[in-house]
């Protein structure tokens, strides 16, 4: 089962569309609520990251009978230091983004704690691809 969503640069209002859509499907599949919540939180955070830091991108979601795989690929500046980015509270978000209530430096740490597998591939000036897996 495959889904694709586009991420629009700088559009915070629309972010959450993918996670909302996936949530409904997971409810139809009767996946346990605790897993649904983890998936929705992780996907939403990744969506926000792509909106806030990158120039938009694409989300690919695959649902299997035992797990969900979510790949968020952005066209962005890339992450210079992944270890730093994984630190709670560390943020490179712009003043504008912070004023909207985002950019608290919890994005990646939150994604990590809500996924079972996390892979981050980044290339400066090209973009970042985050692959998240959650087992039901």
């Amino acid at each position: 089962m495959h889904y694709t969503f586009d991420i629009e640069e700088g559009n915070f209002t629309n972010a959450g569309q993918a996670s909302g859509n996936i949530k409904k499907t997971l409810k139809q599949l009767n996946v346990n609520p605790a897993s649904i919540k983890r998936i929705v939180v992780a996907l939403y955070e990744a969506e926000i990251n792509a909106v806030a830091h990158a120039y938009g991108g694409k989300i690919d979601v695959d649902i299997d009978s035992d797990k969900i795989t979510m790949v968020v690929a952005d066209r962005g500046p890339g992450i210079p230091n992944i270890d730093l980015a994984m630190t709670e509270g560390y943020s490179t978000a712009s003043k504008e983004v912070r004023e909207m209530g985002f950019g608290a430096g919890m994005g990646l740490p939150n994604i990590k704690s809500n996924t079972d597998q996390l892979d981050i591939q980044t290339q400066l000036g090209v973009g970042t691809t985050i692959t998240m897996t959650v087992f039901f």
Binding site: M1, S19, G20, K23, K24, T25, K27, Q28, L29, N30, V31, P33, A34, I36, K37, V40, V41, Y44, I63, D64, S65, F136
Partner: protein, 447 residues
């Protein structure tokens, strides 16, 4: 526990003699419980939460709310009218509470109580419950039965956030029964009749969530009783300004049914949400962990809460104003000390006799989204739905008898409809260019 479905009472009924199958109700239903079949609106009992949105949307008054036979009252020696403060709000500003009570007596009620009597006790119980459940941050009020059923069917993961306790209606009816038995009245002689402002509360009384039965003998629709009282008022035959001795309430209590009337009793972090769309939006956010409220979330599906109930004849804003003026007057009386707040129960008595009966053991989640218990099969179904949906025009025209294209796709998978239901499937491709692209542009795709 799927057997709850079979016992789930619904107050909303479609009169098929009047229904034209116009689709208004189907499009208004927040749980997609309605389909048009054979030219008539049909409600899926497993999905309906008795919120009344369909009733509001129907232009033909084809949807009605069943009520108990009014003559049921005759079976009881003591007939108790349990009226919400909202009822008083239905009458014109110059009609006094005592005039309304006098009319109710003339209609045949021996006792009249307002539901909000139990409110002050209940607030303490809720606070205690919240303090005891430290693992939960966001508590959802159990007050609006449509909200409880909405959560059961659409937000099953939030069932645990509902305060598992009874509501003012249950508490007050129990208190009245205890009180009357204290007065030496045999409980078998007492029939408590609830005057309801909406369909959801009727359904809740008839099949209480998490319990076997309710202490209410019958339900009377508010508009029905309003007409009876209004009739007497217009004839001016009621005993003028009969004093209402035993039924005093605090001003704050009678505002409970208005938006914010509940949350105001809890700390600052509590919220009050009214209106179906707002409630759903907020529940989504709580479910996603987007919002965490360290307190109580009061939620009512009707705009302006219970004064916006579908059985309330008066305009909801006028009713709200009347209640607020009345609350102000009561407050003034209390300040001037010319008003006696009479308690049905002392706090000690309440704790001993009523409080132990206040818990609701379980509220069962009844997901209306779930396609199949087996995830493998459900996954296949989701895939098929997605496939079919991608072929449908996506304009949600409802001509097929389902509220949206995706609802039709789901119906097709469940073998409750076929692709033939979609009128577009019968158009030859060349007609698409000719007829439909003029209206919908290139967004419309041939089936």
């Amino acid at each position: 526990m799927d057997d709850t479905n079979n016992f789930f009472y619904h107050a909303l009924t479609v009169d098929h003699d009047i229904c034209t199958g116009c689709t208004h109700c189907m499009k208004a239903c927040p749980t997609e419980a309605i389909r048009i079949r054979n030219g008539k609106s049909v409600i899926d009992k497993n999905k309906c939460i008795d919120c009344g949105e369909c009733f509001k949307a129907c232009s033909y008054h084809a949807i009605y709310i069943k009520q108990d036979d009014f003559d049921l009252m005759d079976q009881y020696k003591y007939k108790v009218a349990l009226v919400p403060a909202t009822f008083i709000g239905q009458f014109a500003g110059d009609v006094s509470t005592s005039q309304i009570y006098a009319c109710l007596k003339q209609i045949g009620f021996s006792h009249i109580y307002e539901i909000e009597h139990g409110v002050s006790f209940l607030i303490n119980l809720y606070k205690k419950y919240m303090a005891e459940h430290k693992d939960i941050n966001t508590f959802i009020s159990p007050y609006c039965p449509a909200v409880v059923r909405l959560i059961q069917t659409r937000f099953p993961s939030l069932v645990k956030n509902i305060i598992h306790m009874k509501v003012p209606l249950d508490i007050t009816s129990l208190m009245i029964r205890e009180y009357l038995s204290k007065e030496g009245i045999c409980s078998e002689d007492v029939g408590v009749f609830y005057v309801s402002p909406c369909a959801a509360k009727i359904a809740a009384v008839k099949s209480p969530v998490g319990e076997d039965s309710s202490a209410i003998a019958g339900v009377i629709n508010m508009d029905f009783l309003y007409n009876k009282v209004q009739h007497l008022l217009s004839k001016k035959t009621q005993g003028e300004s009969e004093p209402i001795a035993n039924h005093s309430l605090s001003g704050k209590d009678i505002l409970w049914e208005l938006t914010g009337g509940e949350s105001v009793n809890f700390d600052n972090s509590s919220f009050a949400i009214d209106g179906m769309k707002n409630v759903i939006e907020f529940l989504e956010k709580i479910e996603d962990g987007d919002i965490e409220v360290n307190g109580l979330v009061e939620m009512r599906v009707c705009d302006q809460s219970c004064v916006g109930g579908i059985l309330c004849p008066n305009n909801r804003f006028l009713a709200k104003q009347k209640l607020e003026i009345r609350a102000q007057e009561i407050k003034q009386h209390i300040e001037n000390n010319d008003y006696q707040e009479e308690e049905l129960f002392s706090e000690e008595e309440f704790d001993k006799k009523i409080a132990p009966m206040m818990n609701i053991p379980t509220i069962t989640p009844r997901s209306s989204f779930k396609l199949h218990d087996n995830l493998q099969i459900a996954l296949k179904m989701v895939e098929n739905i997605k496939n079919i949906e991608s072929k449908l025009p996506g304009i949600d025209c409802s001509a097929c008898g389902a509220p949206t294209c995706s609802a039709l796709a789901e119906d097709i998978i469940k073998e409750e409809a076929t692709i033939d239901n979609c009128l577009f499937s019968h158009l030859p491709p060349e007609k698409y260019d000719e007829l439909l692209k003029k209206i919908w542009g290139k967004n419309i795709k041939p089936l």
